[in-house]
C-alpha cells in the first residue's frame, strides 16, 4: 500500500520527533530517579538543615507547573546571562521536576521499612554498608517501584512540553505539519497513538519488573 505524500511526510517527521522524544525521556528518567534517590534519602536520614533543603526543593517543584519551570529555565535565565539550549533546558527541567516527585516515593519507601530489619542484619554481623546494600535497598526498591513507575509514565507524557521551549520532538514535529496542512484531527490522532504506544510499552516493562521483584505478602503490613 502506497501512502499519500502527506502521510509519508507526516510519518517521516513523527519518527524523527519520536527519536528526539526518546532522547529527552531516557536521560530525564535516569536523572530523575538518581535525584529522587539522593533527595529521598537525605529527606529521610539527613540532619535537619539538609532535610529542610530537600523538603523545600520537593515542595517548589511539586507545587508549580512544569511548564513554568521550563519557561524560567529557557526564557528566564537569559535575564541573568545564562543561556541553555532548548534540549538542555528541557532535560534539566524534566529531571529536576521528576526528581522532586521521585524523592517523595523513595522517602515513603524508606520510612516504611521497619527498624527491626536493620537490627536483624546488625545482629548477624552485617556492616552498615552491607545492611543497606543487601537488606534496606532491596526492600525500598520493592516498596517504591510502583510509585516511581507511575512517575516515569507521567514523565513520558510531559516530555510533550519540550516543543514549548522550541525543542522539536514528537508533538513539535506534528504541530508544524498540522499547521502547515491544517489537518489537526489526523495529525494529533496519530501523535496520540505514538504516545499510547510509548506509554503502553513502558507500562508493560514496568509490570514485568514488578513481577520479577514480587514477594508474596511483602509491603502489605
Amino acid at each position: 500500500m502506497e501512502l499519500s505524500p502527506f502521510y509519508q511526510e507526516l510519518i517521516t517527521s513523527l519518527n524523527r520527533g519520536l527519536m528526539m522524544s526518546i532522547a529527552l525521556i531516557i536521560p530525564s528518567v535516569i536523572g530523575g530517579v538518581l535525584i529522587g534517590v539522593l533527595a529521598g534519602a537525605t529527606r529521610t536520614f539527613g540532619n535537619p538543615v539538609i532535610r529542610k533543603v530537600g523538603d523545600t526543593y520537593a515542595a517548589i517543584f511539586r507545587g508549580t507547573p512544569l511548564v513554568v519551570q521550563l519557561f524560567i529555565l529557557y526564557f528566564g535565565l537569559p535575564n541573568l546571562g545564562i543561556y541553555l539550549s532548548p534540549y538542555v533546558a528541557a532535560v534539566v527541567g524534566f529531571t529536576l521536576c521528576s526528581g522532586a516527585y521521585q524523592s517523595e516515593y523513595i522517602r515513603g519507601a524508606l520510612l516504611s521499612i521497619k527498624r527491626g530489619q536493620y537490627l536483624g542484619a546488625q545482629a548477624l554481623g552485617f556492616t552498615t554498608f552491607q545492611a543497606i546494600f543487601w537488606i534496606i535497598v532491596p526492600q525500598a526498591v520493592r516498596r517504591a517501584i510502583h510509585g516511581c513507575g507511575n512517575e516515569i509514565i507521567y514523565l513520558i507524557k510531559y516530555s510533550s512540553l519540550a516543543f514549548i521551549v522550541t525543542c522539536i520532538e514528537l508533538t513539535g514535529e506534528g504541530k508544524t505539519i498540522a499547521t502547515e496542512y491544517f489537518r489537526f484531527t489526523e495529525v494529533f490522532t496519530i501523535i496520540g497513538l505514538y504516545y499510547l504506544a510509548l506509554v503502553t510499552v513502558a507500562i508493560f516493562i514496568l509490570k514485568k519488573i514488578e513481577q520479577r521483584l514480587y514477594v508474596p505478602g511483602f509491603g502489605r503490613s
Partner: protein, 226 residues
C-alpha cells in the same frame, strides 16, 4: 526599584485576574471529572463486560495521551471538524475534565471495591433498588474516602491548566507570557507566576483537607484508598 520587580508589581493585577480564569477552569474540570469518574467507576464495578471494556479503553487513552496533544486534537481538530464553536476556555475545561475523569474513575473504583460487601447487601435487604443503594449508601462513603486522592488530582489539574495558553485561554500563564514578551522581564514574571500557582496549589490542598475533616465520621476508617 529594579525594573524586574516593578514590572511584576505593575502587572500583578493583570496576572491575578488570570487566576480567576484558572480557578474557573480547574473547578469546572474537577466537577466534570467527578461526574465522569463516578459514572465510570460504577460502570466498571457493576456494568456488563461491554461497558467495562469501553470504559477501560477510555481510561487507557486519557491516561496515555499527553494533555497538550489532547488540547490540540480537540480544539483545533475534533471540535472544528464537528463544527462546535467552543471557546478556548470551554475546550480546556472539557479536555482536563475528561482527563481527570479517567484518573478519578480509578480512584472511585478502588473506593467501591474497598467497601465491605455487607453494605450493599444490607441496602438490598432493606428493599433499596440498585440505583438507590448506589446513591444513598455507596456514594456517600466513597466520596468521603476519596478526598485525599482527590486533592492530589486537584494539584495535578491546576498545574495542567497552565497548558491552556497553547490554545490561547487567557489564564495566568497566557497573561504572563503576554507581559513577558513585551517587557522582556521573563525571569521575574515567570517566578511570579510560579508563586501564584504554588499558593493556589496549597490553598486548594488545605481547603480539601478542611473539607475532609468536616465530613469525617467518628470511628469511620478508610479500608485503603488509591
Amino acid at each position: 526599584m529594579p525594573i524586574a520587580l516593578s514590572t511584576v508589581i505593575d502587572s500583578l493585577p493583570y496576572l491575578l485576574q488570570g487566576s480567576f480564569i484558572t480557578a474557573g477552569i480547574v473547578v469546572s474540570a474537577m466537577l466534570l471529572g467527578l461526574v465522569i469518574g463516578v459514572c465510570m467507576a460504577v460502570g466498571l464495578v457493576f456494568g456488563n463486560k461491554c461497558i467495562q471494556y469501553s470504559i477501560t479503553i477510555y481510561i487507557w487513552i486519557f491516561r496515555g495521551v499527553p494533555v497538550v496533544v489532547l488540547l490540540f486534537l480537540f480544539y483545533f481538530g475534533l471540535f472544528n471538524f464537528l463544527e462546535l464553536n467552543f471557546s478556548a476556555f470551554t475546550s480546556v475545561t472539557i479536555v482536563l475534565g475528561m482527563t481527570t475523569g479517567a484518573y478519578q474513575a480509578n480512584i472511585f473504583r478502588g473506593a467501591i471495591l474497598s467497601l465491605p460487601q455487607g453494605q450493599f447487601k444490607a441496602a438490598s435487604a432493606l428493599g433499596m433498588s440498585n440505583s438507590q443503594a448506589i446513591r444513598n449508601i455507596i456514594l456517600p462513603q466513597i466520596l468521603r474516602m476519596s478526598i485525599p486522592a482527590w486533592s492530589n488530582e486537584y494539584s495535578i489539574i491546576l498545574k495542567d491548566s497552565a497548558l491552556a495558553f497553547v490554545i490561547g485561554a487567557p489564564e495566568i500563564m497566557a497573561r504572563t507570557q503576554f507581559v513577558a514578551s513585551r517587557t522582556y522581564q521573563h525571569l521575574s514574571l515567570y517566578i511570579a507566576a510560579g508563586i501564584i500557582y504554588f499558593l493556589l496549589t496549597w490553598a486548594g490542598v488545605i481547603a480539601l483537607r478542611k473539607l475532609e475533616q468536616s465530613l469525617r465520621i467518628p470511628g469511620y476508617t478508610h479500608h485503603g484508598s488509591n
